[in-house]
Symmetry: C2
Subunit: 335 residues, 2 copies
């Protein structure tokens, strides 16, 4: 049987000092000056015994557990989800925190239970994440620790992490312009999910605003705008297919990679070569973007950075309240 846990008392005993002294030394208290000798003895004892503080006991006293909760609507759907989680975990690890991951499916009942589960465990902060940007309902219980909204938004909680969609939109266009393309550009997907909630479309509006501003600054305009009610490969395929009947575009600006994926298929079937005949740019940096041939040039959703930023924010390392994370440009072969 594994021997009993070693406690502070054991350490103090071996060091020949009181638990108080041991506690102060091990937690690195500043104001008190215990002898250097005492320090040495305590550390020696702690190491020799393999002492590990009992976080539960400490939490009871200090109300700090060095753990934070990441409450997400969905966890498995996209790479985006795991990116957020990973970023959060990484930042937490660095600060010697741990993260509890909870999933709610967007169900208010599960949301409530998740918050309770987290609060019961005395987490030091909670992050509400949404896999697709949206206004998230937060259960109406008083949360007495910092709260940050990740890729989501809520009235009561101002601390927010969002991708910089406006700049991302600009960059997508810039890519095309830099390649000398200012004409024959088709926009695919613009009004997607317009019904899915104000905030979601608010984010998309920002992306579009960036796109339109950059377009007009370059003296360019879309030769055509195709709308899609969802942003799946099928849509991209069908839309591009019918586009190609009448038009010979020079570039496709797709609002996400899945649309672009479908577009590639249609382009391939009609014998158009990417990027020689038509260039393609899109958003997200899904896994598929790198699988396509040629690789798809895309404006990435900075999942990991967002996750990291969220925990930094929740741990109070950051003075500002709204953080916009830049969307990296992934240059591959499609433009």
């Amino acid at each position: 049987m594994p021997k009993k846990r070693v406690t502070l008392a054991d350490v103090a005993l071996r060091a020949g000092l009181s638990t108080t002294a041991a506690s102060m030394i091990l937690t690195g208290k500043q104001d008190t000056r215990l002898s250097a000798d005492a320090h040495a003895k305590v550390h020696e004892a702690a190491n020799a015994l393999g002492y590990r503080p009992n976080v539960a006991a400490r939490a009871l006293r200090t109300d700090k557990t060095r753990s934070i909760a990441l409450i997400s609507d969905y966890v498995a759907t996209t790479r985006f989800a795991s990116g957020l989680i990973r970023g959060a975990i990484a930042a937490a690890e660095e600060a010697r925190y741990v993260v509890l991951v909870l999933e709610t499916g967007g169900d208010p009942n599960r949301e409530m239970k998740a918050v309770q589960a987290a609060l019961d465990r005395q987490v030091d902060g909670v992050i509400f994440a949404a896999m697709r940007a949206r206004e998230v309902t937060v259960p109406d219980v008083s949360i007495n620790v910092p709260v940050v909204m990740l890729n989501s938004k809520n009235q009561r909680y101002p601390l927010t992490i969002l991708p910089d969609e406006y700049q991302g939109g600009r960059d997508a266009v810039r890519l095309l312009v830099e390649a000398g393309i200012t004409e024959g550009i088709v926009l695919i997907g613009h009004n997607a999910e317009a019904e899915q909630g104000r905030f979601r479309s608010e984010m998309i509006s920002k992306r579009l605003a960036g796109i339109r501003d950059a377009m007009s600054e370059a003296g360019a305009s879309f030769v055509k705008e195709l709308s899609a009610w969802d942003w799946e490969p099928d849509q991209g395929y069908v839309l591009t297919q019918s586009l190609l009947i009448h038009t010979k575009p020079r570039a496709l600006l797709c609002l996400n990679d899945r649309l672009a994926f479908g577009a590639y298929q249609a382009l391939g079937e009609r014998g158009f070569s990417v990027p020689k005949d038509v260039a393609v740019v899109s958003f997200d940096n899904d896994e598929i973007a790198s699988y396509l041939r040629p690789g798809l040039t895309t404006i990435a959703l900075p999942h990991e950075e967002m996750g990291q930023a969220a925990v930094k924010l929740v741990l109070g390392r950051n003075p500002v309240s709204l953080v916009k994370i830049p969307m990296p440009i992934m240059r591959r072969g499609s433009v």
Copy 2:
């Protein structure tokens, strides 16, 4: 300011009983029979006050935190990762547990820290997961709670969750045979990552054993076997491309979806139609499988089920030690 937490003492006070009574009633003790009246009063008080037990305090007493650690080598790479996590979270939630997710990158140092972080927080169990099946090193500290290996293996810890690769292999072949195809079948990818470690190849061997057994039972044999040193789309593309120069296959059995994805591209370029000219079956059920046209028929890696099974196992709901999770057949349009 949020009012102070309500404690058991508050509940007891309001109910006009002792904390002892309140504790026993709220934790649902069996042996003691407090009056029905007492029960009612305590519950009423708890509800009215919005009482929530303090898990840290309880943990100090009982050594149970209702939380388990999921320590994984990688978290963000594939959908597989998030599937495992999601399954684990779901099963945990059902049992009113919470899961701490930790990542190690396969680095022994981080592995050690992760285990310590988990143990410090008195988790009730730990799950070691690997994103690609492999023998995982577990830090050499005594872990005094149940341990289960998820998609991985370790000498010291017998409790293991693995996909049923053998049966999956059989099923892949069966799909082809049922479609009347027993000739002109090409295997793509067989010796991949043979160097990546005994256990990984052990798993692949099982898949291959299933494939070969089913083939010979059907009186079929491969017309060709193409090996790939990794299983990325590029490989699938190149291999299939050169295959098509000399051969006109009837079916491609790819060892994962990414290979199949590359194969699709080569097939498309040479004007072969899937599934009319050549059928394709593969493994994993990656996101791309559903994006391809026609949809890729594939034998799924049962991530979520595995994650769920792992927490059930670690919570001791299960008497056996090695659990093989069936790999579901995803029938789409490629055969």
